[in-house]
Symmetry: C2
Subunit: 185 residues, 2 copies
DNA sequence: AGGCCGCTCCCTCTTTCGGGGGATGCCGCC
DNA sequence: GGCGGCATCCCCCGAAAGAGGGAGCGGCCT
C-alpha cells in the first residue's frame, strides 16, 4: 500500500524489535511504522532504543487497540504518531505525511481516552505487581507470600488501586487495568 | 496484496456485516475474508447470514487474537478458515488457495487452543450473564437484583463457572473468560 | 416414560475482602 | 533541610465470597 504512493517508498521490514533497530541503523528511514506487540523486543523498547541512537527518528505506532496506558508509554518513549490498525488506509498515508512534516498525530479515539485519564494518578510499580498477581487468582495472602511482604501491605496497595482506577472491587479493577493496557496477561 | 497475486482478484470490500452481506449477494466471490470485530453487525452474524443464503460460501476469518471461544463460534457459524492478522502474507495466500480447493484451514495456535478445550463444558447462557455482570464489578447480591433471581442462584452459577473455567476465584474466572473470548467487555 | 441438563433455591461455616482509621522509614526534589 | 510520594505495617469490623452439602422443576431427547 505504501509502495503504491507516488511520494513514498518501503525501504525495510522487520519482525521484531531487534530487527527493527538494526534495520533502522541500515536505512535510517524518514518514517518508521511500529507495531507494539512483537516477540523478543517489544515496540515500546524498540522506540526507546531507536530514539536513543537517533533522536530525530519519526516513529508512528500502528497497532490494534491496547488501551490508553499503552499509548501513553509509546508517546513517552518518543512516538510521533499513534494509529489503530482498524483505521482506513487514507488516514495512514495522511498521518505519514503529517508526521513527515513534523507534526504529531494521535488517533482521535486514543486521544480522547488519554485526555480522560490525564488527571488520574498512575499506578505505582508495586501496585501493578500486586494487581497482576491478583489477576491470575491470587488471594491477598498469596500475593503477600509471593512478593515477600505482609498481607496488610497488599491490602493497602489494593485499596490504592481501587481508588486510582475507580473500580468497584478487585475483579473490576483487573478488567479496567486490562482494558486500559495497564497490565498484560 | 491479494490483487498482486496472479490467480486472485479483489472484487469487493465492506466495512461492516451488512455491507458484507449485500456485497456478497452482488459479487458471490469464491472466497470471503471476514473480520469478526465490525460495527453494526459482527463477523459471526455476517457469516451466519451469508451461509444461510449461500450454503456453499467459503469464508475465512481474519482477525486479531480473540480466544478459542470466538474461533469456535466462527467455525460453528460455517467459517472454513481462521487466521490471525499477525500471520505472514504467505500464509494468507496459501490459506486462500487451500480453502478454495475445498479444505479447511485453522491457524495452528488457534487449533491447539481449541483442542485444549474440546473436553471442557462450555458455559451456559446464564453463567455467562452472571460472569459478565461480575466482570464490571457487581457483587453477587447486585447481580441477583439485576437478573431478578436470588443471590443463592448467583452463587450456584459462579460455583459452576469457577469449576468449568478452572479458575481460582471470580477475578481469575473473568480474566480467563476474557482471554478465551467467552465474554466481551 | 425415564433420564439428563439447565435453572432455580436453600442451609452452614470459614475465609477473604474492603472500608475506616493511623503510623513509620526512605528517597528524591526543591 | 524540609516536604511529598512511595512502600511498608498495624488495628477494627461488617459484608462478601466460596466450599460444602441438598433439592425441586421444566424441557428435551431418546
Amino acid at each position: 500500500m505504501i509502495a503504491g504512493q507516488a511520494d513514498m517508498a518501503l525501504v525495510a521490514e522487520a519482525e521484531n524489535g531487534e530487527q527493527a533497530l538494526s534495520a533502522f541503523r541500515a536505512h535510517q528511514p524518514d518514517i518508521t511504522l511500529m507495531d507494539v506487540r512483537m516477540p523478543t523486543m517489544g515496540g515500546i523498547d524498540a522506540i526507546t532504543a531507536i530514539r536513543a541512537e537517533f533522536p530525530a527518528a519519526r516513529i508512528i505506532v500502528l497497532t490494534t487497540y491496547e488501551g490508553d496506558a499503552q499509548a501513553l508509554r509509546a508517546i513517552k518513549a518518543g512516538a510521533a504518531g499513534y494509529l489503530l490498525k482498524s483505521m482506513l488506509r487514507k488516514e495512514l498515508v495522511e498521518t505519514i505525511r503529517s508526521v513527515h512534516a513534523g507534526r504529531r498525530r494521535i488517533a482521535a479515539d486514543i486521544a480522547s481516552e488519554l485526555a480522560e485519564h490525564v488527571a488520574d494518578d498512575e499506578l505505582t510499580v508495586r501496585e501493578r505487581d500486586v494487581l497482576a498477581l491478583v489477576a491470575v487468582g491470587n488471594a491477598n495472602k498469596e500475593v503477600a507470600a509471593r512478593m515477600g511482604i505482609s498481607e496488610e501491605t497488599v491490602k493497602t496497595h489494593m485499596k490504592n488501586v481501587l481508588t486510582k482506577l475507580g473500580a468497584r472491587d478487585r475483579t473490576h479493577a483487573v478488567v479496567v487495568a486490562l482494558k486500559r493496557g495497564i497490565i498484560d496477561i
